[in-house]
Symmetry: C2
Subunit: 177 residues, 2 copies
């Protein structure tokens, strides 16, 4: 059912497919706790360096359960800054120097998917062990944008908890004189 | 299972939840045709004015099967330009003058969800009647961006079929002299 998630929905590069599937899995099992757990997943994804050291190590040791690896190299890591495929891939290409349709980028997304699945399973286990405490926090930078543009703000013309900066940079900066 | 889609995934304002659920439904029933159909849905969503005349009419006539309506007014229409909740909502707020957490905006998203479900069912019916022909086309503007930045381009540093302009405007414009 979740084939459509690949490439951020059929190659459109919107929501990362790893997050999409993991969020659905959370909703299937976690009842009313889904919102806190999905929120935590989204915030973690935005700020975690991918692929993790663990998945780089699994790759070097050929410990992944795949028939053929696209690369067994240790891949460079980047922080996605966003749960959008488009931003996540671009940040990694900028950091790593690899092209967006290289086999290394494809392998990077495979390892990232493993990282997201592992984080989600661990978080769900903690939740069911009553040992889960959310740590996700909206950054001061985004909170500052939201104070005018989001719910209750004087402008209130949008919504969202995403990091604003990858698209908007500093929208209120003065033009250079 | 798809509760997490609300507000573009738990209020993060990424992929519109109406599209997310509809794409999953397509994958459940359409076999290998899923990609063409989901692609068509994404392109249609980016370019269709929401809420449709039909759903505005249903609302006026109280024909929606909901216990209580948030508003039965004819709501202003806007083209989302994006399948991202954040952009879709902002474009509508700019066009309509309503705030992003107003009951009218919430009602607009409800009507849009009906529009997306209706389009999807109709498209699936056409598909199973062997009467579906994809009409989605990547715009010349986006094709021009992709010719350098996407697969096979000299830069090849990203991926995606999304409309580039809502975030990037004209990134190559010369600074004003």
């Amino acid at each position: 059912m979740f084939k459509y998630g690949e490439g951020g929905v059929a190659g459109w590069s919107t929501l990362c497919g790893a997050v999409n599937g993991a969020a659905a899995a959370i909703c299937l099992v976690a009842g009313d706790a889904w919102e806190d757990l999905v929120n935590e997943l989204m915030a973690w994804y935005e700020n975690n360096p991918f692929p993790s050291d663990t998945s780089n190590q699994y790759a070097r040791e050929k410990a992944f359960l795949v028939k053929e690896m696209k690369s067994d190299k240790t891949l460079p890591q980047s922080v996605a800054k966003s749960t959008l495929c488009h931003v996540s891939v671009t940040e990694w290409c900028k950091k790593s120097g690899y092209k967006s349709f290289s086999k290394e980028r494809s392998e990077r997304c495979g390892r990232l998917t493993g990282d997201v699945a592992a984080f989600t399973v661990d978080m769900l286990n903690r939740h069911f062990d009553k040992a889960f405490t959310p740590v996700a926090k909206i950054s001061n930078e985004v909170q500052s944008c939201r104070s005018c543009h989001d719910k209750g703000g004087t402008i209130e013309n949008t919504r969202g908890k995403m990091n604003c900066m990858p698209c908007h940079d500093d929208p209120h900066k003065k033009p250079k004189s």
